[in-house]
């Protein structure tokens, strides 16, 4: 599609604004940018490939319908897209009760059907977040990971981990704050190195 080539130079937020005007090429562009990351997240949470596909499809349709309401001053578009996927995936695992027992299964090579640039970008992003997570105290990391990737509620975590609910709430709060600090520190380091 010739139009989508032009969109490659636009910011995510500008592309969302075009999607809000009903331009399908903008939706295609957002899928090209974030479809792989979205599917990986959905797959990690719901495990089942077909369910993960449904999650991504519904999230993108939610994006299509809701693009007009997106407020760029309040969030990055990529964060919004991931939030749509996460919310949908968590709804699915809570409904299906599958996350508790099904193991993640086989590991895949990265980059099937993706451009080399995107594969590298996704790997760098993954390493960046994993480095930040590794800096957290174990219990905080465990709480964040089980909540975000496992779809467990705070009450479920308290029961599963045998900690008081109040402790879980505090650990989740401190964990996210720490993670945010770690990610910010990395950004500063990274930009220092490149200048």
């Amino acid at each position: 599609m010739p139009v989508s080539r032009d969109l490659a130079h636009l910011s995510d937020e500008a592309v969302v604004a075009l999607a809000a005007r009903g331009e399908e090429a903008a939706l295609a562009e957002l899928y090209d940018r974030y479809g792989t990351a979205c599917y990986r997240l959905a797959r990690r949470i719901v495990r089942d490939p077909a369910l993960a596909e449904d999650v991504v499809q519904e999230a993108f349709l939610g994006l299509w319908r809701g693009a007009a309401r997106f407020v760029p001053e309040r969030a990055r578009a990529s964060a919004w897209i991931m939030t749509l996927v996460h919310r949908r995936a968590v709804d699915v695992v809570r409904r299906e009760e599958r996350r508790r027992t099904v193991p993640l299964g086989e590991q895949y090579d990265e980059g099937l059907g993706d451009s080399a640039e995107r594969v590298v970008w996704l790997r760098l992003e993954r390493e960046r977040v994993q480095r930040a997570l590794a800096e957290l105290p174990d219990q905080q990391r465990e709480t964040l990971e089980l909540a975000y990737y496992g779809g467990f509620t705070q009450s479920e975590l308290a029961e599963r981990l045998g900690r008081p609910l109040g402790t879980i709430k505090s650990q989740m709060f401190a964990g996210l704050q720490n993670l945010r600090g770690q990610l910010e520190a990395q950004t500063k380091e990274g930009s220092w190195r490149t200048t």
């Binding site: 797959r43 939030t83 909540a147 709430k169 989740m172 709060f173 993670l179």
Partner: protein, 219 residues
């Protein structure tokens, strides 16, 4: 003390890790707590970063085309977005609703938030509760009422968007006390319709099975 503890829920909220009751309780708090609004905004960004630590998985063939086909079939229809990204509309709606209920202080705080373009409509309700339905531009709406008794066991309140004698389901809610409750509608409220509330069997009904307990003025 209790207030301090509720601030901590901002993290669980951003991670989608609150139970349904707690989530609603926190959203009511969020509507008037600037600190939690800032925390949630920052935490949502941080939580979204976690997405990128997911392991590789083979991208399904044809998903892109299926999504684009479905979008094309739908056209550019605008429906209600995930509530947590609809803050401006929700804050403004809550502000207007607070004014309607006489909570001047809340309203003053909330009105310092950016409001969406276009005018909010506040529809007074009559019936078993006092309050209003606030409709943001585009039709996203919330019912804000007080005085509604918790539903009896096995029952729930159901929201409806009503036109003439037809009614479309717009979500369920179940207040735990007669205090103020904010219930978002899962469906847009178009001009010429009213919002109603009926008592339904738990799980809700596809169409009302009883006369509305609360009805709003017509938009």
């Amino acid at each position: 003390m209790a207030d301090d503890l509720i601030h901590e829920l901002a993290a669980g909220y951003a991670l989608d890790a609150l139970g349904p009751d707690e989530e609603r309780r926190f959203e009511v708090h969020l509507a008037h707590c600037a600190r939690c609004q800032a925390d949630v905004a920052a935490f949502l960004e941080t939580a979204a970063e976690l997405a990128f630590a997911s392991p590789p998985a083979p991208q399904p063939a044809g998903l892109r085309e299926r999504i684009l086909d479905a979008a094309q079939r739908e056209g550019a229809r605008v429906v209600v977005v995930r509530p947590r990204w609809a803050y401006p509309a929700l804050f403004a709606a809550a502000a207007a609703a607070c004014l309607a209920l006489g909570f001047g202080v809340w309203a003053a705080i909330l009105q310092s938030r950016p409001a969406p373009a276009g005018a909010l409509r506040t529809l007074p309700v009559r019936g078993a509760a006092a309050g209003s339905v606030v409709v943001a531009p585009g039709g996203a709406a919330a019912l804000v009422v007080s005085g509604l008794a918790p539903p009896p066991a096995g029952k729930t309140y159901e929201l409806w968007v009503m036109r003439g004698t037809s009614a479309l389901p717009a979500g369920l809610f179940a207040p735990r006390s007669r205090a103020t409750v904010v219930a978002r509608l899962s469906r847009r409220v178009p001009p010429g319709t009213r919002v109603g509330v009926t008592l339904e069997p738990a799980g809700g009904s596809a169409r009302p099975t009883s006369r509305p307990l609360v009805v709003s003025a017509r938009l």
